[in-house]
Structures are given as structure tokens and as C-alpha cells.
Symmetry: C2
Subunit: 453 residues, 2 copies
């Protein structure tokens, strides 16, 4: 059997995501909506585990970070001050022949002449700036006075509340404000499954510090964030911290790292860690006329802090987790014949379901009753799944395919029918090694909790 | 001291929310955006605790419910089929004198003649339907073909994915699909703080069942949901299950309960529990041409299931939690003089911070070191806050005011300086009774975990 190509691998991943309920096309029964995706029963659990782990390590386990949750609709003045209204654009060209609207870099060039990739037409408008923010109107009228945008990033919610959060949290520099939330960009060409979508979720930290410490904190956060990805099961070899060259950085940034992952469709950014200096707060101070300065009680100085921003994409990290986890190996089927086994090797910390509980047979009441007892025993500690349908081997395979790290089987030995010494023990199966160990039911919660946290 | 009036009480609550960082006006430094709110460091924790508890009891602790997370932007066809494009409207009137746009029920009537409440003008247009959905355009053009809406409810995401979720989850009737997410309504008159806002979050369950069982499940879920509110600390006396009369129910509903709460501004709806029959799925089946039927393996019948929908507002429940928790009593200040104490009596399960840890003095290194050890001991189990600033009494008050149920103080007895038997014990203070008990440090995790879960 030859190794599948990257594009075959990606096709299999996309197919698994739909087949097992990780990710669906939004509004699929109506033909979908390009660039928008829904998370199914397993996808929503995976995403929750990722977001909760981020919140735990970025907010709860630190003394120097607090959270917030800002609205998606904000006053339009925010986007004027941040520069998004004027400069958050892609250059677009219209084809006068077929009326297609195209990104300037998508035109085809033949014999030095630019052509429409749709119809081959050469009658094209010159490029015009197309703003990527979604517009809407808030209030009873539809005019300039009621126009605003869906936020294209969560960061600005934090900057405009900097002073309020500083006051209520009584923090001293350096300190951070963290947020998880949705953002929207009207991408002309959404692509690579959920990687580049029009609606997406961000996990952002704005870490405020003194100007002279900016570069150190930039490096500190780059390292912290790499550790984070390793701690959710992404191999260090598949992660890359790219130093963004001077000419590609935003003009206000003094240093930026892109944390990239080797997706099957190429090496792509998971997270940017950017030293944004005092640009954002200065812009909002100027535009709002409200002081966004920090008062240093020791030196009696007032100044606008600098900021380092680790900004991660939730959806693309979920996709990276699935790509990283996807693997195929060989395992015996019910008749002992070797077959291909699909396994999602998720880190137990982020696996959607932590443990599946199986009675060996569904028509044997004491097995079923015992299995349900075990479900009740484990449920206060983790997300558990009960399954009594089909041959036990097929039930294992179904769990392997969705990345459940542990399986508990209640058999006749659990009931003490063969050997009284084995009464109230179960087999605990490991997804990756497929090895089974015999453990007492009462030890299950502590054994499993230690392996999933 | 006379009891404060309801409106005084509400003012105090709003003021506390801002002062201590529960809720801020969105884009406040730019004058805000009417009907949009941001959650500060404590608000975001309270909201997370509420949503996580809902997810735990509605999804994780049940075998018959799975979750999903749909996109906010959906294909416009969804809103045509659901009826929102045609009928999700308020009647509006324009004043030709001052150009104000008004909700028809907000006009003032003098001597039988309707007048503009702004300018007193009588030259008014006749009422026209104003759609409450926010419009936007997806893609490169702005025309009818690219028009869609921000979802005005999360429910339709579930209905249009009913078949996909059914297939991947292999559930049998009755079963439910749950979702937490944002929705948007262009309310003409947002009011009552965060209660009626333009951007809000919903926690919705669509529970599918056979037609003949609809009324039973309606009653079941009404009771379950009332229990939920009691379990997060809302007194049963302040909750009301209103049977919505026939003439006020949606035409397709065979029964609806409104679960209401006694806010300081009046009795208002927290959640609707509606028996929606097969209306929604039928509409989408008709409009999409895709079968949304359920196949019953036992009877070999195919049919569209009925649905009962418990639909709760996250933001209004957060507000109810704060209103319910707010109280004032008397406590001695540092000199023993009685003063008014503000306490948020949150249920420990939903309190933003579970435990505050204080060294008695901040300039005594062994006290500080021990306190930080305790923070590290508790952190894997709960959100902990460390505070060393100010007199201990003032530190207690600050935690009372934000509803932290427990306070741990490290004093000289903890260090064993006075009585060796008290070494490695701390005082554990209860927010509500203000009573202190002396407990061994090593017992803190188990004592606190049992009280907060």
C-alpha cells in the first residue's frame, strides 16, 4: 500500500469530519453559504475543550491576566480609529464581459495581458480597494449614521475597554486581557476547508507592558504559545515559528512571529504573536479624546503601555488538531483478518469524548445495569459515552475513529460469574496501543482523571 | 433606614456591574452602541460558569442530547423558509415633521389623535412592517443575490442540521440537539440594561419526539428548567411558569410556558419552553426539497418529528443572577463601627471567583510565600484570586461585593509561631455568614471542591 498523497489525506479528513459529525457545511440543505461552517456533536466538544484549555492556561492559571467578552457589533468609530475602515482591503477587479468580481492577484496573464479566469475577457476595470468588513445597519434607518461593521478581529474590543478593565482589575504592568469570540471577514476566496472562512473564532491575548520590555515579552509569548500547541498534542516538528521579515510586518509592529503548522495543504499560520507597540491604544486615545494612559504609582509617570498580542484562530487550531490526530493503521476485524483502522490520536485533554462504556452484550440485563452504573460513576468527572449496539470490535472501531482515548467493557467477569476475584473489575482499553488492562471499577475515576487532565 | 425602591435597587446593581467589572457599555469611549454590551473580567467568568453548567446538565449528563455550534451567517433561504423574512417584524411609523422613526405602540395619543412623542407632530405615516433582522452582504457584490441576515435566533441552525446530526449521532426518538451561541435583533427600543439588547446569547435545546408525546415533554422540560434555575441559586418564589394563553402563542405552537423572573424592573421572561409541533422541520423540508423525516426502525414508519424547545437567554439569566444575588447587610468596619456591606450572594457553583487567598500582611515574606503555595494548591481545582493589598477587612469586603464565596487567610498561626498545633492551618471565611473556621491547608481542596460543585 503506497502512502496517500497530501491531497488524498485531506480528502479523507474532510470526509471523516462530515461522516462522524465534527464539521458540516453551514445551511447545507440549502446549498450552503460559502466560508461558513457548523460544528456537529463531536466538533463542538473538541472546540470547547480547546477553548477551555486556552482559558485555563492563559487566564485562570495566571495572576497577571484577566478575561473579557466584548460584543461583535461596535460603534463604527472604533473601525475608523483602528484603520480598518480605510485600509482593511483587498484589491479587486471587475470583468466587464462576464461581470465577475475578482481579486487582482487571481487574474490570469497570457502573453503579458491580464485576463478574466472565468471567461477569458480582457476588458477589466483597474483594481479598486474592496473592504473585507461585513456592513450592517443598527437602528431604525439605513444610512451613514447607522452604518457599522461586524468586528473583523476581537482585539479592538480589548483596546477600547483597556481603561475600564485596568480600573476594575487593579492590575499593574505587565498584565494582559484575554478574549475568545467570533470575528468576520468577507473573504473573496474562502478556502482550505475551515482554514480560511468568513466567520471564525479567535483566542486573543493583549499583554500590556512597558516599552523597554516589549521585545522580551514578544519572545516570552512565542515560547509560551509553542508550548501550548505541544500540550494539546501537536508535535513540535510540525510547528514552526517564523520571524516575519521587516518588510512584511504591519508598519507599527516592532516584531512578529507567525506560528505555523504543516497542514496537508501546506504550511499555514495558526497564530500570530505580534509586538504592536503603543499603536492601537494611541489611535483610540487620539480618536476618542479619552485618556488611555497608565499611571505608574512608583515613578509617578503617565504613559501609554506597549502591547504584545498572541492571536490564535480557534477554527484553524481545531483543524490542525484533527489533521495531526488523523492516522491509519492495521487491526484485526472480528474474524481476525487485518483491516485498515482509522484512528484520531487526539491528546486525551482535548478528545471530544474521554471514555466509552460498553456492556459486552446488550440483551444481558446485569451487564447493561453495571455499565450504566459506571457511566454514572464517571460522569461527574468527564464526558462519557454509552454504547451497547453491535459487536464489541465494531464499537471499539467507532470510538477509535472519533478519537476516544479510553474504552471500558463490562463482561461476565465483571459480574463475578467466572472468577470471584475478578468481580467488579472491567477491561480498560487504550485507543492507541489497543492494549487492555483489567482494573477495579472503583479505581476508574482516579485512573482516568489522571490520564485526561 | 427605609428599603430602597426597585428602581433605586436597579441603579445600584447597574453601578456595581460597572464599578466591579461585570458589564460595560460596548464601545463606551466612543459613546457606546445602543443595545450592545461587553462583559468585563468578572462578567465573563459568571457567564462562562452559567453556560458551562447548562452544557453539563443539558448535554453531558444526558444520554439523549448532543450539542452543536452553528454559524451566525446562514444562507438566506433559511430565513425565508422559517418565516422570519416575511413576518419577524415590528410595526413602525415615521414622523414627517421631525423624521423620527417610531414603533407604532410608542406613539402618544391626545384627544384621540396620535402624535409623535419627540416633536408632537401629527403628520405620521401609516404603520409599516419593520424587519428586526440585521442585514449584510456576503461576497464581492452588494445586491439581492448576496443579501443575508445575522441569525435572529439559534434554533434554525439546529433545524436545518437535524438530519446530519441524526445520522452521525445514531440517536433514536426522543432526543435533543443543544446549542449555545449569539443571535441578533435590531430592537427599536433596547432597554432594561442588558435585558433587551440587540446582540445576545441563547442557550437552546430542540428536543425531538413523537407527536403523541409532545405535551408530556413540554411539561417535563418546564419542570427541568425550573429546577435548573433553582440549582444556580434563584429562589423558587421569584420564578414563575406562565402558561401562555392560546391567543398569544405562535400559531404553530400547541403549548408554551414562559419562565419569568421578578427583576427589579418587573416580571420578565427568562426562557420560553415551547411545543413547536413539526412546524419548523416541515417548513425546511418543503423549502429545501430535502427529506427531514425520521425513520422508525421498529414500526418502519417515516415521519417528521415534533419538537419541544426550551430556549433561554444567557444575558438575561446573568442579569437575573446578579439581581438575585445583590444584597446589603451590616458589618463592622476596621474600628468596629457598623457599616453597610454590599454582598453578591451567588451560588458557589456560578460565582466568578471561588476562593480568595490572603496573606495577613504583605511585607512578611513567609506569609506571602505560604499564601502563594495555597494558590498553587487550589488552582487545578477552581478559579482562585490572590490579594495582598490593604487591611484584611477591606480585602474581605472587596470579595463580598463580587460574590466570592470563600476567603482563606494565612496568618502567624499558619506559620506555627504561636501554637505549633495550628501550624499549616488557615482561617476559612464564609461570605454569607462571615463566620471563620480553622482548617488544615491540606484539607482545603476537598472542602472547597465539595462546596462549589
Amino acid at each position: 500500500m503506497s502512502e496517500p498523497t497530501d491531497s488524498q489525506r485531506m480528502e479523507k479528513i474532510v470526509s471523516l469530519c462530515k461522516r462522524r459529525g465534527f464539521i458540516f457545511q453551514s445551511s447545507e440543505i440549502y446549498g450552503g453559504l460559502n466560508g461558513c461552517w457548523d460544528y456537529g456533536p463531536l466538533g463542538v466538544e473538541l472546540k470547547r475543550n480547546l477553548k477551555n484549555y486556552w482559558w485555563r492556561v492563559v487566564v485562570h492559571e495566571r495572576d497577571d491576566v484577566v478575561g473579557m467578552d466584548g460584543s461583535i457589533l461596535m460603534n463604527r468609530a472604533v473601525w475608523k480609529a483602528s484603520g480598518h475602515e480605510d485600509t482593511f482591503t483587498d484589491p479587486m477587479v471587475d470583468c466587464r464581459s462576464c461581470k465577475a468580481r475578482l481579486r487582482a492577484d487571481q487574474l490570469v496573464e497570457k502573453k503579458g495581458i491580464k485576463q478574466c479566469p472565468n471567461c477569458g475577457g480582457k476588458d477589466l476595470t483597474s483594481p479598486r480597494a474592496f473592504n473585507l468588513m461585513f456592513k450592517t445597519f443598527v437602528g431604525a434607518t439605513e444610512d451613514e449614521s447607522s452604518l457599522t461593521y461586524l468586528r473583523p478581529e476581537t482585539a479592538q474590543s480589548i483596546f477600547v475597554q483597556f481603561k475600564s478593565v485596568l480600573e476594575v482589575s487593579r492590575k499593574k504592568l505587565p498584565f494582559g486581557i484575554a478574549q475568545i469570540g467570533k470575528a468576520f471577514r468577507n473573504e473573496i476566496n474562502p478556502r482550505n476547508f475551515t482554514f480560511r472562512s468568513r466567520e471564525f473564532e479567535q483566542m486573543e491575548l493583549e499583554y500590556f507592558c512597558r516599552a523597554e520590555e516589549g521585545m522580551q515579552w514578544l519572545d516570552y509569548w512565542k515560547e509560551e504559545r509553542l508550548k501550548f500547541y505541544e500540550n494539546i498534542g501537536i508535535a513540535r516538528d510540525n510547528l514552526h515559528a517564523l520571524t516575519v521579515p521587516d518588510e512584511e510586518r504591519a508598519f507599527y509592529s516592532k516584531g512578529t512571529y507567525d506560528i505555523e503548522y504543516d497542514f496537508p495543504f501546506g504550511r499555514q499560520e495558526l497564530e500570530g504573536v505580534a509586538y504592536r507597540t503603543d499603536y492601537d491604544l494611541s489611535q483610540h486615545q487620539k480618536a476618542s479624546g479619552k485618556s488611555l494612559e497608565y499611571f505608574d504609582e512608583e515613578t509617578k509617570q503617565r504613559f501609554i503601555p506597549h502591547v504584545v498580542e498572541p492571536s490564535a484562530g480557534v477554527d484553524r487550531t481545531v483543524l490542525a488538531l484533527i489533521c495531526e490526530a488523523y492516522s491509519e493503521d492495521e487491526a484485526p476485524d472480528e474474524k481476525g483478518k487485518m483491516e485498515t483502522r482509522i484512528v484520531l490520536r487526539f491528546h486525551p485533554r482535548i478528545a471530544p469524548i474521554k471514555c466509552a462504556v460498553f456492556p459486552l452484550l446488550k440483551n444481558k440485563e446485569p451487564l447493561v445495569a453495571k455499565a450504566k452504573e459506571i457511566v454514572a460513576l464517571l460522569r461527574p468527572h468527564m464526558y462519557v459515552f454509552y454504547d451497547e449496539t453491535g459487536a464489541i470490535g465494531r464499537r471499539y472501531r467507532r470510538q477509535d475513529e472519533i478519537g476516544t482515548p479510553f474504552g471500558v467493557t463490562v463482561d461476565f467477569e465483571t459480574l463475578g460469574e467466572k472468577d470471584p476475584a475478578l468481580r467488579d473489575t472491567v477491561t480498560l482499553r487504550d485507543r492507541d496501543s489497543m492494549k487492555q488492562e483489567r482494573v477495579p471499577v472503583k479505581d476508574l475515576p482516579s485512573i482516568l482523571v489522571s490520564r485526561i487532565s
